[in-house]
Symmetry: D3
Subunit: 323 residues, 6 copies
């Protein structure tokens, strides 16, 4: 059943450092030629919403580079996403580095095309504001979705710098206000870091977003927390948003707003594995900032997590197809 057109190049045939660095060494397919594609990995090289240290605009390229070290089969679930589904690298979304509103429009426009072609998007950011235009597209198709959100920050703030409402600290407030997300089906995991006030957490409480702080995660353990998370989203259409800064900065230093005391990449892997079986409609991995980690170590964590996400996405797509 394997579609040979959509198989990654194997590292024991051609070494991983060889060849064009597409995501997972998959074929690069133009949006117009995605007829057979089930899942598209898409870069959004944009950080126009960044209020602090910049750089995630360079994320997709470094993630592609490091992703060439990923192989094809998951070592625990034994899922091979490239067997279950046709996955392709769809290249990068159009963006605009010097105008936020224009960029948001360009991104949504691209995702509208992706979704109109029935491709499930796995996004590689970019800063966290990237999630907003993606969710806008998805919501047109799916309505208000549930979301499982891994992050050090809630990204539920109202505005910055005296009234500016579109930054990487505000996407999910906007997405809830705009009806893209159903706040009662949103859970945020790993939250921590000093605060300027309680604006974000008050909003969360008000609208019903469940925040699981890092202390609670460490205390209850990964399995218990993920059981609750699964219950929150139930069988709703669900999006996964994974901010690399949820992981401890010793493992993912290349990010703009690190917070010490995070969860480990081992915990991250276990948590994502526990998302298998949900009704997933898309995912993103954001805030990898190469200028703050030119070694590529952070992007390696990011690429590894994209593979984990890809496995549960492919399983979801395959299951839905099977029905």
């Amino acid at each position: 059943m394997t579609n040979e057109k959509f198989q990654p190049i194997a590292g024991n045939v051609s070494p991983r450092f060889a060849g064009m660095p597409t995501f997972m060494r998959l074929p690069h397919v133009q949006i117009e030629e995605t007829d057979e594609v089930d899942i598209g990995i898409i870069g959004v090289p944009w950080d126009g919403g960044t209020t602090n240290r910049p750089g995630p605009r360079h994320g997709p390229r470094q993630l592609r580079d490091l992703s060439t070290m990923i192989r094809t089969m998951h070592p625990v679930s034994r899922i091979d996403p490239f067997q279950l589904t046709n996955v392709a690298d769809l290249g990068d979304s159009p963006i605009n580095p010097v105008d936020v509103q224009d960029a948001l429009k360009r991104i949504t426009g691209f995702y509208d095309q992706v979704l109109s072609r029935d491709v499930l998007p796995m996004t590689a950011g970019g800063d966290h504001l990237v999630s907003l235009p993606v969710l806008r597209s998805l919501a047109k198709k799916h309505g208000a979705m549930g979301m499982i959100h891994f992050d050090a920050h809630t990204d539920l703030f109202d505005s910055y710098f005296d009234g500016f409402k579109y930054t990487h600290g505000t996407p999910f407030r906007r997405a809830i206000e705009e009806g893209c997300l159903d706040p009662k089906k949103v859970v945020q995991i790993g939250i921590r870091g000093t605060m300027y006030g309680t604006d974000d957490v008050d909003f969360a409480e008000e609208v019903g977003v469940r925040i699981i702080r890092i202390e609670e995660l460490m205390d209850r353990g990964v399995e218990d927390v993920m059981n609750e998370a699964r219950k929150i989203v139930g069988d709703s259409k669900t999006y996964i948003s994974f901010d690399i800064d949820g992981i401890d900065p010793s493992q993912a230093p290349g990010t703009g707003t690190p917070e010490i005391g995070g969860f480990t990449s081992f915990q991250a892997q276990q948590m994502v594995r526990l998302l298998q079986g949900l009704n997933l409609v898309g995912a993103d991995l954001v805030e990898v900032s190469p200028p703050f980690d030119s070694s590529g170590n952070t992007a390696w964590v990011g690429a590894s997590m994209i593979f984990e996400l890809l496995c549960v996405l492919a399983d979801a797509v395959h299951s839905r197809k099977g029905k």
Copy 2:
């Protein structure tokens, strides 16, 4: 009750990368103008006691730089130290990079001034020998104090290089000998690393210093260990000394004498939070060595721990005021 003069600049008003990098974006106040100041954050840019890899002389500057990413409220205790007390950046103590004894005198001289103005000192080193002149000043005011000491090393050695008694491996032996510390009220947490002999631990046992090695900490857990630590110091006047090398070198590589297998920054946060309620008279964070981590990741851990320390110090100052 907030004193507007002593409020940090908020990052959602002026981004964190903007403006002068004082500690926590606080006002820089000259020692002569500290009438309203309760807590002074003080840099001691000196590493004259370093026997191995140098660099902590650059610590205060990099810590100030990274500290501008700290916000104002603690996410768990909800303490805002800048509401409870007036905190200011007092700049750097005078030092001397080419003469140890002269430097020790200059530092004690500066802290004598600080204490005479009733300012509680939160020190950013510098190497660990910095603690000695600070303790000398504090002991003039408070007598022999208790100490909770986080570190990979005991720093209880007698001398180096054939009789040299003032290095970053000897400060607490000197402080005990000089009566600045009451050894029966001293507890050291996180100790590990290979040894040249048992000189230091024999001394500890002899005078009653309690050493909690890393294996014991990992085995008993943070809470149990901190209960014991709190009992050891009781309600005595207590100093906290936090050597960044107590934390695992993957999280804090920028230090001169790393030892693998340390506690995590998450554990460090939990431990310091459990110091709330003690009768604290000062604290230091030392051994951040920027030349060994130009990324600033170590200094970010350091700045984050300074904020944790600041919260328990502010709570202590506020409580005493309240009485």
Copy 3:
């Protein structure tokens, strides 16, 4: 005649790594308290016009850090700018990282204040779009100015990304169109790098901007070229804009758009020294991008060039005062 209030702290009194990193270790003076200030060094931590690799928003802080290694007297001209004039660090201009037009307004607003208080601005960027709002303020006071511009690029492009007119590749086209610069009195030195077309150089030719490419500079030598440059601006009010990417990337790698084959920092020093005697009204040094050179080597070149610029600015201010 020395004003003690405006003297840098000497490195043989307090080492250069000690104390608050203001520009040149000068006092930090609020804009409201600049009565005695002749020259203000101002940071503009903003890179909202950057179309390629970001980071100059972090420039002012790293430049301040490295500038603490600068001493007080020029080794060749023996000018001590701090004796000739009162120089102060005025801190950073307000900016906005998520909206270009708002940022331009905030910057011009700040410079309007600076100029209304008769302070000559020495600006540390920020990307090159920073020059535009500064020139707008200066032009209100001085009319269309001459400019000596060191750069690898002309920054005379019309627009990017299908009609966006405010980027770091367009400031001087805008400034000429808006009448801030007299194009016949503008000379650009060091231009090089591959091209997408001749849009910029055609515009230059059309309006009379003189471009001295790197090959011409290398061929004729620094002195001959600077004689021509001095003639071009004559005794007009003249601005100096120094893009760090004019210097070869081996000496200044920390910048967003490097072009190989540049002039050396030695040549840069000689060129700026030959600007002494012009009727200077301001200067900037831009495009230092710390995330692309965390070593600080680029910022050290930048800080050294700011000192060179400061010497010729101070001489100009002093001369005008003397008249």
Copy 4:
């Protein structure tokens, strides 16, 4: 009983950064002069089997450099390997960077000499293919051995690039095929990472190699797992092979094939300590790749683990001598 000739130089006599960087600051002894030597630390600066990112050829030098920060006594077991046995740095094995088969021969040739002089080898690689020629030499003396193997990968693959059988992914398949290892006495700990298929694990199952994946290790804990490992090797002659990539890449980034979600260096220390009492005949530590971590942090972890290994090796040698 101490042999003064084989004592490391102490860091409180001559600082650690001083002097020739031999392993552990031990004397460098030529192979011909090893009459009194019990344990030889040997570098194998070779990475000819590397199929991905190169660099371990530089491992021995950086490991020697960092090893000068190691002291002499183990902090928990209180073993001083330099008191129990005579340890020396035997320098580097001959190798050949441009021919795999020639290199394998040169290495085995050198180890044949080492073993003929009754020196137990502690090897610092080099990539993991280095283990094969070492095992070939050891097997001539000891027959098929047991092995405790710490790694992210099984290194049990058959071949690469269409039939090439000697790479750093195949050494233990070759060693088992050649009768150097008894597969029923081989245990692999820490295995993880994506897969191209099940070739390696199928082979393991077939021949009886026990694989303890990272999830099992994290779940059961270090002590339980090591009890099983000890049982597997029993009192057979046993080799320890420690691939630095077994440790999480946040702690050991300087390696060619990192896999996220590894065990910590604290766990690594506890695991090696639990090998005391086994019938050990040699050990190696491989895959430290300095070009991918010029900071030396990875080599510091490596050098620290070499010391842990040295302690259990010295104890084994000492015990056998005592009998």
Copy 5:
């Protein structure tokens, strides 16, 4: 006359950090689909001949990444190679990291295909041994060629490590022996560095290779030297081999065998520009070693020099077509 299919994506339409990093943002064309292609840029990700510090296997990928900052028109000659000819990225040649002879065969095999399709090859290495299999292919078509060779080393050595004849220090000795190069039409420019003996220069003298040491280049100047070089090759079919280590290591540190005191990148540009008009049949740029410069600065110099080479190659192809 422009072929729209072979145009790079412009950076003022889509920013340079966006999209798949092919060479110069050109289309990636499979070898089978090169009917319209005049010049193919080909990566050879292999460093199997490296006797010292490894890493050039990673060269093609980092060169591709940085090459996305190159634009389309040469600023001095105004040549736009993408207007004159159809240029494409042909991806990477097959290689083998663990066997030198097999790798040489695979590379020659690939170039045989390229040449059979009448594509002129512009190669991005890889180490300098890469030139040998390329020259072997070219010589089948063109016979013994002339060569202009920029380098710090002659690469004319006979063998290493007791008889191994295929390393990155021997390619041109082999190529001359095998009749791929006509030694009387070979000139080497920039040679320097300490020596083990005169084996290579004696051979050069014997067979008639002209060596222009760095001192001679600096003394006579670029133009005079290049006049001589042009005379040496005359109108013969000529290959250009550019080893990045010819350039001073301050500008190109990411290479395995740096030698201080090299020519500048400015001089390199001028020298290559003076090759316009020769009868060029191919070129390579080798020895960029990303692990020794993760900043990408060296690769930026390399990508810039590839563009310079591309311009003179395109001009040659265009001229021959015109005849």
Copy 6:
């Protein structure tokens, strides 16, 4: 005439990354066993005189590491210092990182031994204060010497920090005052950088030290300047002191007090080559600070310059022997 005992290991026999990193891969000889040694390369791992950024204490080790890439014969003079003389690595001088006066004594003590055994010292620092104790030893033997001094700074200051007379900015003032140097036979080349005043240059003028600033060097050229330098020292016993910061910081960034606009490493090579024939009695290369350049690029420049110095020293020793 070659003494086989004192030959470096050749890189085409054993690769440069293999084996113990002694200087130039020479034998490490204890001071007591130097009977046949003509020239000793000695490390002084000490930076106790550093008033600014520390680190040269790590210089000898990194210089040794990089020096293993040096071969044996000079490419221009064809001098092979290991044929002309017996050269050995004498290891490191004893030092003391925590006490300046004690360190000065230990160093002079070691050099007294070296000189008593008729070994000419080639010193690798360490900071520039290292030159003082070396000159004290040499002066006991040779009286007041001439000196050719390459540096960005005069190091002729009187004192720092209110009366401290022994820093890396004062060695030559002390050496002149103590009669170790004859100031009329001292020439300083490359001087530049901002000043706090004219204390040092006034002293130079007063006592007759000739300062050749960088502008004069660039203007007159290397040959003319070196002719003058040779005349100044004549046939006096002459010491060479080479501060790495004389070279431009783009080529030698790893140093504590960089000054932009320096001479190139190519010029440095030419200048040292022109010292052949002088009556040389010793040399040093100082201020390489590894923590500020972990890449080793600066140390590579340093090691290359040590080889240049070694060639002229060996020639001098050989000439004197010949007489």
